[in-house]
């Protein structure tokens, strides 16, 4: 299907490890199949670089089906590239036209330092989870799963929030580098479910405080995060988090949690 192949120009961010400064490098690719995925195109570019003895471009990826959340990349200024509800690994070359110049950068956010080339460190998101993204319970102590009925509407809403893949696109796209959408998704899931009630407000306080400590910015209701989110996490969860945080703060003031 060679008539479906395109030629493209690439401006790719290259940054050596431990080097605070990086730069754009220009590459040209010809005969790229429009049916190949964006990451397969980078695989091919890397093969070309290796052939010339140049070092391959480092980038994060794993499952390549949009669920593990490991792939990142800012493509033409947009985390995960233009297009709705997709991760970079689900983007295909048919979204680009012949002769187009594509700019590829890492996720840009202060709490996500660049490790090398397009690879960034997103462990601050794990740190937020460690502060309260769980229900305290032990294996072996669970009651029968149907002992506590949970309405379908509640379960479905919790699932909407739980769909977050932790990719960090919400942080990368936010002018404030806020992790509110990420944090509120996990908090929303657990704070909606009956199992999560005992720790509800403690969770809100701990996760929000950790988010601040890790250097993420505040939310100013811009809404870019929801637009960039590959899993359609709603801003409503941020509202819910703010409410739980406010209630939690009052409870904390009166020393009731």
């Amino acid at each position: 299907m060679s008539e479906k192949n395109i030629s493209i120009k690439l401006k790719v961010w290259r940054q050596k490890s431990n080097d605070p400064k990086g730069h754009f490098e220009n590459y040209a690719m010809s005969d790229v199949s429009v049916d190949s995925s964006f990451l397969e195109m980078i695989d091919l570019l890397n093969e070309q670089l290796i052939e010339k003895g140049d070092e391959a471009i480092a980038f994060d990826h794993d499952c390549r089906e949009g669920i593990c959340g490991m792939c990142s990349l800012t493509i033409n200024g947009v985390p995960h590239g233009k297009g709705n509800l997709q991760t970079t690994c689900q983007l295909h070359m048919r979204s680009f036209s012949n002769g187009e110049t594509i700019v590829i950068e890492p996720f840009r956010a202060k709490p996500f330092p660049v490790i090398k080339d397009l690879v960034v460190d997103r462990t601050p998101l794990d740190t937020i989870m460690q502060a309260g993204g769980f229900i305290t319970q032990r294996v072996g102590s669970a009651q029968d799963a149907n002992a506590n009925p949970i309405g379908k509407d509640v379960a479905d809403k919790a699932m909407d929030a739980a769909a977050c893949i932790g990719c960090g696109a919400c942080v990368a796209v936010c002018p404030n580098a806020s992790a509110m959408l990420f944090t509120s998704a996990k908090m929303g899931q657990l704070n909606l479910l009956p199992q999560g009630q005992p720790e509800r407000y403690r969770r809100a306080i701990n996760m929000v405080n950790t988010m601040d400590e890790e250097g993420f910015g505040n939310c100013t209701n811009i809404g870019e995060c929801q637009a960039a989110c590959p899993k359609d996490i709603s801003l409503d969860f941020i509202a819910m988090m703010n409410r739980d945080y406010a209630v939690g703060s009052v409870k904390k003031f009166f020393a009731t949690i």
Binding site: M1, S17, V34, D35, S36, E40, D43, L44, N46, L49, I50, E51, E55, A56, A58, F59, D62, C63, R64, E65, I67, C68, G69, M70, Q90, H92, K116, R122, T123, L125, D126, M129, Q130, A131, G133, F134, I135, Q137, V139, G140, A142, Q143, D144, A145, N146, N148, I150, G151, K152, A155, D156, A158, M159, A162, A163, I165, G166, Q189, Q195, G196
Partner: protein
């Protein structure tokens, strides 16, 4: 190699209870003195690390991804089986046990499978307590569906993201323990060797994938939960980073490898777009309920379709070969995974394949749309049709989908006894990386069940027993990472890395992986023959020569180097692939996912040979390029009758 399966005495249904009672316990105050290493953070590893930490042990957990939440368990779609019988449709532990044994084509251990069925119900309780948002009915009760041809509805699910939700549940518990300091988590670390001191596993060697630093880690026990080896085929549904390295390194140190030839090929994946593509996306098999599978009757029409000169809808009815309906009139398009995969390969080998590469068959919904109307098809499969259009660029309501089988899961793995201990004392294996529960074929929705059963319930119990029995408090921590054993293991790792990076040849690691994948798919894939396997062994050896003489890895070894990571994994695949072929060659029968063309019935069905092969083949490493030594663990069936699978 000593193979004692250590199956507890007594009736099947009392074995696990008895074992748990007989297991030695560790005093709560002493648990904090023990260190456990867990490699892998998926369902088995993540759940085991969290649970052992809850018990009070000190855990060090390692994963190659940037976060434990990325492990490939996350990609499982369909669901998790459990013998809850919430639907009152006749399910029971006994029935789940029997279905799993039969589905595995009578090549798994009765006692292990029974335990799996027994703890399955607790898995659901545990996951719900941890906040996993399973699908529910309006009354608030958990919903179930029937899956993979099961006659009962025992599959629990969370939309099409069950694996994700179960993994994130385990990750939640793990995160809590990391926050408490009970688990030390090491992301972006790849395990490159196991360290044995006086024949007992006492630690591992890792490479820090960011800095390239090689580290030695000591512990009182080591657990591997490092997944399967489908990426030996290059082309698979696995994540790009999945690999056999940890299991293979353990094998080289003396751990027996069981049934490596048992691999599962999933029939409904999207076809490969070009040779460089390694990842095939899987689509739910439910599509086969309404889709009809066909290829053109002649090579000429197929050639025109491949060139896009004509559209599939232009092909006249009499020029189409609905080969599954023709060959298997009663099961038709719903023939089991292995059978429909093989039939697709045969059609393509015959030159009648479609898709640009000639490796594709049609799955046509036209009749279903005419019969049921498009809205109903949209309701049933809308998300899958959208996914197909996003990846393939075609609208499957107008033109048939193209599908092709892809390697998906591996039933073989490190040999373990009933206590999940490998043939190396102190080294345990859980989840897909052990061989224990699925025999020659895995049923749908059983992988998640096994990963969590091992992680939440079995490993925490057996590790306590191992400590109680083998490492009394006075002997805790008897390892020294500066001892000769650790230094030797580290040096071996350094030497290998130096060798790979200093060659400066012409061949990229990826191009060798592609070649290896082609050999394996062609000769050790869906259909295997004596002659083909013997050829494959020679070809693998020749490819290994190329790898070790002409490899090209630009960049520094003391840095993040994605090609060095890839090369290390390919190097191990190049050794492991040979073992797989030896096992496939030795197993002169067809069973489950292993089909030897010489052993089939007149109708082309798999022909098992229970007299000679009702055993686990356990292989002992004898050096690279040398024939491995086979040991057999006989399988005794005291509770089930060995039947024949038939799908005519």
């Amino acid at each position: 190699m000593k193979l004692d399966s250590n199956i507890p005495e007594g009736p099947l249904e009392q074995k696990w209870t008895k074992a748990k009672f007989d297991y030695k316990l560790v005093n709560p105050a002493n648990k904090r003195k023990y260190n456990v290493i867990v490699v892998g953070s998926g369902l088995a590893g993540g759940a085991a690390a969290a649970t052992l930490a809850e018990l009070g042990y000190n855990v060090q957990c390692f994963c190659y991804q940037d976060s434990p939440r990325r492990a490939h368990s996350i990609a499982a779609q369909g669901g998790v089986n459990a013998a809850k019988n919430y639907q009152n449709d006749g399910d029971s532990v006994q029935r789940l046990f029997y279905d799993t044994i039969k589905g595995g084509d009578f090549r798994s251990r009765e006692a292990n499978v029974y335990r799996l069925a027994e703890v399955s119900a607790n898995i659901i309780d545990q996951c719900v307590a941890a906040g996993v948002p399973f699908a529910r009915e309006y009354g608030g009760m958990l919903a179930n569906r029937s899956f993979g041809g099961a006659q009962v509805s025992r599959t629990f699910y969370a939309r099409g993201q069950t694996g994700q939700q179960l993994l994130l549940g385990a990750y939640s518990s793990l995160s809590r323990q990391i926050g408490l300091g009970q688990v030390k988590m090491y992301n972006r670390h790849e395990m490159l060797d196991v360290v044995l001191v006086e024949g007992v596993a006492k630690g591992i060697i890792t490479r820090n994938m960011v800095t390239g630093k090689i580290d030695r880690w000591g512990a009182d026990a080591v657990i591997l939960a490092t997944g399967g080896y489908s990426t030996v085929f290059f082309l698979s549904t696995n994540a790009a980073g999945c690999n056999v390295t940890a299991a293979w390194r353990a094998h080289r140190r003396g751990a027996g490898f069981a049934n490596p030839c048992y691999t599962q090929i999933h029939p409904t994946c999207l076809p490969q777009e070009g040779e460089h593509q390694s990842k095939l996306t899987l689509m739910s098999e439910s599509l086969r309920n309404d889709g009809r599978v066909w290829v053109p009757k002649t090579k000429e029409i197929a050639a025109q379709l491949r060139k896009d000169a004509i559209k599939p809808s232009d092909v006249a009815e009499e020029d189409r070969d609905y080969y599954l309906e023709r060959k298997y009139p009663s099961f038709g398009n719903l023939a089991p995974r292995d059978i429909s995969s093989r039939a697709a390969k045969e059609a393509c080998d015959d030159g009648r394949g479609v898709a640009a590469t000639g490796r594709g068959v049609y799955l046509d919904f036209k009749d279903a749309i005419d019969r049921l109307g498009r809205p109903l098809i949209e309701e049933r499969y809308g998300n899958l049709f959208d996914m197909y259009e996003n990846i393939a660029g075609y609208n499957a309501y107008e033109q048939p989908m193209m599908i092709y089988p892809a390697p998906h899961y591996t039933m073989g793995g490190l040999w373990v006894d009933y206590n999940l201990q490998t043939s190396i004392p102190g080294l345990f294996a859980g989840g897909e990386c052990n061989f224990s529960d699925h025999g020659a074929n895995r049923l749908g929705a059983s992988a998640l069940m096994q990963g969590l059963a091992d992680g939440y319930f079995v490993l925490p119990a057996v590790i306590g027993n191992y400590f109680g029995k083998e490492i009394p408090v006075g002997k805790v921590g008897q390892y020294d990472i500066n001892s000769p054993e650790f230094v030797e293991a580290e040096n071996a790792v350094l030497e290998k890395i130096e060798k790979m990076t200093s060659m400066k040849g012409k061949t990229s690691p990826r191009s060798i992986h592609i070649k290896l994948g082609n050999i394996m798919l062609d000769k050790c894939g869906m259909s295997r023959t004596d002659a083909g396997l013997k050829e494959a062994i020679q070809e693998i050896r020749a490819l290994r020569e190329v790898f070790w003489s002409d490899l090209n890895i630009p960049g520094d070894k003391n840095d993040l180097n994605i090609e060095l990571e890839r090369a290390g994994r390919v190097a191990d695949h190049l050794e492991f692939a040979e073992l797989m072929c030896y096992d496939a060659l030795d197993r002169r029968e067809s069973c489950g996912g292993h089909f030897r063309a010489e052993y089939q019935t007149d109708e082309g069905e798999a022909l098992r040979n229970d007299d000679e092969f009702a055993h686990v083949s356990v292989w002992e490493f004898k050096g690279v390029g040398n024939e491995p030594q086979k040991h057999a663990e006989p399988l005794n069936f005291e509770n089930v009758h060995l039947g024949v699978r038939s799908y005519k």
